[in-house]
Amino acid sequence: MKLSGGLYVLRETGRSLWRNAWMSVASISTVAISLLVLASFLVISINLNHVTAVLQSEVEVRVFMKSGTSRAAEMQLMDTARHWPDVRRVTFFTKRQAARALQSEFPAQQGLFALVQHSNPLFDGYDVFATTPQKIPQLAARFRAQAIVHNVIYQGQVVHRLVRLSKIMQWTGWIIESLLSVATLFIIMNTIRLAVFARRREIHVMKLVGATDWFIRWPFVLEGLVLGLIGAALSLTVVANGYRWIVNEASVAVPFWPMAPFQQVVSQTALFIMVGGVLIGALASAVAVHRFLRV
């Protein structure tokens, strides 16, 4: 296509968007709204993943040392364990710390309190955090095999549930996201098809005066692309500002809730939505025009 051809396409696209302004607005708003829904759930889905990741990282394995083990031996094991593949973090606690923790969990148990104060029946130990909850059973076994370890406990049931739950949540997220993507695709396709349908006679006449298929198609494709682009940009603006607001509000209202960082969320969403919007718009136009070119 020559330069003049390119200019023609650009000019035609602009004119056409303007001429069919009313239709352009209807199409763009539909594209924007469906992409907005898609983007919102992408944000939610990223956050779900983020939360499950954070939750998972909170599950701990408690390793208790045999009483009488020297502090040096305890420290040495800890230093070694730190470098085991599935270990994310190890924190040491003394039996006094363990006692205090127990007390604060049962503040009312005066008898227990006295007992623990008097002769502490608890042990020194580590809190070990695994990289992923799946690794916890192995990790527990590995600690149990150490000579100085008295006992290893972890909430097997909880871990099990958590792993399953987070998998379900991730899967649900992806499934919803995929279904939404398909839905968005359909809606945008249909919208552009209806818009092109309203102009079928125009296409027919173009063919009859000798226009080639691509000569007719290019402006439509570019128009679809622009519709997609504007729609995507609009929806992104809303989502980005909305998410910024939510992150700010959440940091005050539910400070303990881990929100996925703004930058990461918006950049991932932007990439997906912009590329998606533009591609769908252009493709949908091309497909829609196709029907009416057979003259």
Partner: protein, 231 residues
């Protein structure tokens, strides 16, 4: 390259079973001026539509220059149509473009330079008497003005064939004659002209070849003929 149009045993049956053309044989040579006449529903437009490929033929073959319409591929169609300047019976203007843009569009389609377009379009609009309407949209024009836009669009690329289907139906006799004179002039400098028409006065006055169709068959083919036998 032979500059002829040739119908060889052409039949056209529409999807609903109606026989639009029956065994039509017709040869139109370079530079001829042919009136296509016949009662309403005779098959004039059918013949024209077969020529530019809006309808496909069922039997026989149509030759237009080097093109054989029966075997013409989808890709070749635009090249055929660019040989023909077509005035459609129902106008077929693009409703969202101005008069100027409608005519210019036909040039853009064939890849004309914008310099050529800027020079040629106003000239053609002048010829059909629409200079003052160049920025109007089709719905802002009178019936006759719309018809003349269609004529301007057909002429603008200086095609070797002009195929005009009832181009003067909405024109007053005087304007109709002006358009006829324009066609005659274009014919004189080389274009072949095929004009389906009901304008008895024009046909009778200009004494060109007359092909009469009735119920899908050619019933008369007369050089220097008149609209009816009586004339």
């Amino acid at each position: 390259m032979k500059q002829t149009i040739r119908f060889e045993g052409v039949s056209k049956q529409y999807a609903n079973g109606h026989q639009g053309l029956v065994e039509v044989n017709l040869e139109i040579r370079r530079g001829e001026f042919v009136f296509l006449v016949g009662p309403s529903g005779a098959g004039k437009s059918t013949l024209v539509r077969l020529l530019y490929g809006e309808e496909r033929l069922n039997a026989g073959e149509i030759y237009v220059d080097q093109f054989r319409l029966r075997v013409l591929t989808h890709r070749q169609m635009p090249r055929l149509r660019r040989q023909l300047g077509i005035v459609f019976q129902d106008g077929k203007l693009l409703p969202s473009r101005t008069v100027y843009q409608n005519v210019a569009f036909a040039m853009e389609v064939v890849g004309a330079s914008s310099r050529d377009i800027k020079k040629r379009v106003p000239h053609v609009l002048e010829l059909v008497g629409l200079s003052r309407r160049r920025d109007n949209f089709p719905h802002q024009l009178s019936g006759g003005e719309q018809q003349r836009v269609g004529i301007a669009r057909a002429l603008v690329n200086r095609p070797s064939y002009i195929v005009a289907d009832e181009p003067t139906g909405n024109l007053d006799p005087e304007t109709g004659q002006d358009i006829m004179k324009l066609f005659v002039e274009i014919n004189r400098i080389g274009a072949t002209i095929i004009m389906a028409t009901h304008a008895k006065d024009l046909v009778d006055r200009f004494q060109k070849r007359v092909v009469a169709i009735e119920a899908g068959r050619i019933v008369r083919d007369q050089l220097r003929g008149a609209y009816g036998y009586e004339a």
